[in-house]
Subunit: 159 residues, 2 copies
């Protein structure tokens, strides 16, 4: 779906920033943000992202993200990074990103620090980044994520 990825990111943000204790709660929060879906889909989303439900300090239960850091604010992309990502190709289930000469390192740094679910890890050379997506992450998942989380990075002709 067009906005599944966006939705997954929103779910992450919500879980990171508030104490959510049921999928119905989460559903209502998402509805306020404009995402319309059923509890069944949420169950699948949470499973996809390996979100766990855990008893809480006080009363009740909360969902917790399987990631190390739950930072809500994301680092801004540097101005100089604008439009320097030249192409995205896929091979062997991995993404090969081409940048303007010398920019691979900084772009990879930015991508790494998104803590994006989709990204297993990156290795950067001078103008090439090898990005290993997590299992189950599709080409378009990855591209959508990059578009959403690092707007302006990708040159227009890339898709």
């Amino acid at each position: 779906m067009k906005n599944r990825n966006e939705r997954l990111m929103e779910i992450r943000r919500l879980i990171a920033s508030s104490n959510i204790s049921s999928q119905d709660d989460l559903m209502k929060l998402l509805l306020k943000k404009g995402y319309e879906l059923t509890q069944a889909t949420l169950s699948r989303d949470l499973k996809y992202m390996r979100v766990a439900k855990m008893p809480n300090d006080d009363e009740g239960y909360v969902y917790i993200l399987p990631d190390k850091e739950q930072s809500i604010d994301e680092p801004e992309m540097q101005a100089s990074s604008f439009g320097v990502l030249v192409s995205i190709d896929f091979a062997q289930g991995m993404a090969i990103l081409k940048t303007l000469p010398g920019h691979a390192g900084s772009i990879a740094y930015n991508i790494d620090h998104l803590n994006a679910y989709e990204v297993g890890g990156t290795i950067a050379g001078d103008d090439t980044i090898l990005l290993i997506p997590r299992d189950g992450v599709s080409k378009s998942d990855l591209i959508n994520m990059l578009k959403v989380r690092l707007p302006g990075l990708i040159r227009e002709q890339v898709h």
Copy 2:
């Protein structure tokens, strides 16, 4: 009750040592060990011990202990604070090793020179190593090899 504490310990042991996916499952295991109780009590026990339920790698869900040493992170393990190898993650059948900044090269060099059967080859960036295992080598094969051949690099995994 007289043996509630014993029971809690037994539950801990069971959860640590097997993949339990429902309270009914756990109930049956406990029955075999001589503990007779209802699922409702189990729900309370798990809440008391803050045991979380999390989607699993393959299919299904598992209970996990909130033990500080037991990470609920995706990375298979974390290095000790003194170690250089920070995490090992798997995606696309390959291992992605994260190191402290600047150490990827030397760690990759060391791994290469083990001449370990398990390792097809490595590519190192600044703080990331992509390790391609040989066909048929499992995740745990690789981790065990690294533990044995490069002790100290990887923290002992506590269960």
